[in-house]
Symmetry: C2
DNA sequence: TCTATTTATCGTAATATTGCAATATACAAA
DNA sequence: TTTGTATATTGCAATATTACGATAAATAGA
């Protein structure tokens, strides 16, 4: 097998799992961390910031872009990537809900 | 290759990527959703709640347990699973930080 | 003890992910 | 046009994940 049975789960469950999957690699966490640290679009030097070959970085950026977590625009010979706030907001809404329940329901466990 | 180069990233980046990976499947999101919905330990009927075979569910539970997101205790012939708040708190701390930066740095993007 | 029930593990097939060399593409500047 | 620079794509090998049938282990109750 090896293929996730997405059709049996709710749209939200699949959506959240996809966002988690997009962030389920330290290189992609590092990219997000870096984008937030420089607090701007990155135009050119992401590859130098990561301990991976250029095609690998390009692939990770593509996955983050497909998930909607970052967006890019062509800027001459370079590409500018930055955080896509809309998707992060959706992600935040789900997680805030989850964390909210966890924090109010403390100690009702075996 | 196929193996993540964890040694090149920070401990926090690897830790967060691992938590994301543990949640990067709709079945595991569904398990967490269900645990929160019933607001208690689940003793016995997780398998019936999911559209997957028993060995598959058992495997997903194991992954959530390995990641520290749930904990289980033997209760007669059944196993009781529940949310592990400590790990979720760590996860929340990281994400609250990320979301905080994103929400304060709006519109400084290309 | 025997049986039923519940959860875990093993083994395996199908599929997905990771990483990079080689190469392609796109554009700026000489 | 040619050269240099930056990013993307292709192709492939190594590894990981997903799913489940078969089976094991553990316990409760007859």
């Amino acid at each position: 097998m090896g293929a996730t049975k997405t059709e049996h789960f709710t749209a939200e469950q699949n959506e959240m799992a996809n966002l988690m999957k997009a962030l389920a690699h330290p290189a992609r966490i590092a990219i997000i961390d870096y984008l937030l640290k420089v607090n701007a679009c990155i135009c050119g030097d992401i590859v130098n910031e990561l301990p991976l070959a250029q095609p690998t970085v390009s692939q990770h950026l593509k996955e983050l872009k497909n998930a909607g977590l970052i967006k890019g625009s062509i800027e001459g010979t370079a590409i500018c990537y930055c955080i896509d706030e809309t998707t992060f907001l959706k992600f935040q809404n789900y997680l805030t809900h989850i964390f909210g329940i966890i924090n109010t329901n403390k100690n009702n466990c075996c």
